[in-house]
């Protein structure tokens, strides 16, 4: 009853149980945080437009992405993954979501930013629906914890529109 084996077993079980409890409490503490993020995106320029050989249209954009995501960070936050997606509807597809840009925010200090960039990933339609297309730009973020549950949310910005004609 007091052998090394029994004692080692009891100790390890206790250790794992305590660790699991601490992980759960750390994760639950994230629920006490009520973030107030803000974001704004400007489409500065539609750089070019091309029609691929398979008929799919592609457009290139220069964007100003500004956001303040500092309130998302808690002591249990490892990093925040943020990405900007263009969302629109076409006759063939009820929903198209295309990621244009993403980034990793490693700490609270980096969470307030203004990015001036062309789209990191190609904005390609399944078809030729982009001329004059109205679309939303949605900034999504995933708050990755040091341990426990991951939180995801977004800000939807509406009212963007691609030009009818291209030079």
């Amino acid at each position: 009853m007091h052998s090394f084996g029994y004692r080692a077993n009891a100790l390890i079980t206790l250790g794992v149980t305590v660790l699991a409890l601490m992980c759960a409490m750390a994760s639950l503490s994230d629920n006490l945080n009520f973030p107030t993020p803000s974001a704004q995106v400007q489409v500065l320029n539609v750089n070019w437009f091309q029609k691929q050989r398979n008929g799919n249209e592609e457009v290139s954009l220069t964007l100003n992405i500004s956001a303040d995501l500092q309130s998302l960070f808690t002591w249990n936050t490892k990093q925040v993954f943020v990405f900007l997606a263009a969302e629109y509807e076409t006759p063939k597809n009820s929903l198209n979501q295309v990621s244009l840009w993403d980034g990793i925010i490693p700490s609270k200090e980096h969470a307030k930013f203004l990015i001036h960039a062309t789209n990191k990933y190609r904005f390609i339609d399944q078809g030729s629906n982009l001329q004059g297309k109205e679309f939303n730009l949605t900034l999504h973020w995933h708050v990755m914890p040091k341990t426990g549950k991951m939180f995801a949310d977004k800000i939807v910005m509406t009212g963007y529109r691609l030009p009818e004609e291209y030079r």
Partner: protein
């Protein structure tokens, strides 16, 4: 070898009006390019049946048990052997 699941991020979704089927493109966060190099030859998109699930949280270091047992299988045998010994030698 065996199929292994990969946890990557969805960067493109196209959903059909009529059928509700989706075309999905994924990419690992730390990779430069998307996963088309990982897909089957000629495959450009994933469909719902290719997707097993979604990540909802993190348990740090728990995966090391599986990694160590896969990379050094001897540890797997030692562990099972020791457990077997414990069962055989226990008095209950």
């Amino acid at each position: 070898g065996r199929e292994i699941p990969i946890v990557h991020r969805v960067i493109k979704v196209h959903e059909r009006q009529d059928t509700g089927e989706v075309d999905v493109l994924t990419k690992g966060d730390n990779n430069y390019g998307d996963d088309r190099l990982l897909y089957a030859h000629g495959q450009l998109w994933l469909q719902r049946h290719h997707i097993m699930g979604r990540a909802v949280g993190f348990l740090p270091y728990v995966g090391w048990v599986t990694i160590i047992m896969t990379e050094k299988p001897i540890i797997k045998y030692i562990l099972i052997g020791a457990l077997g010994l414990l069962v055989i030698t226990s008095k209950d």
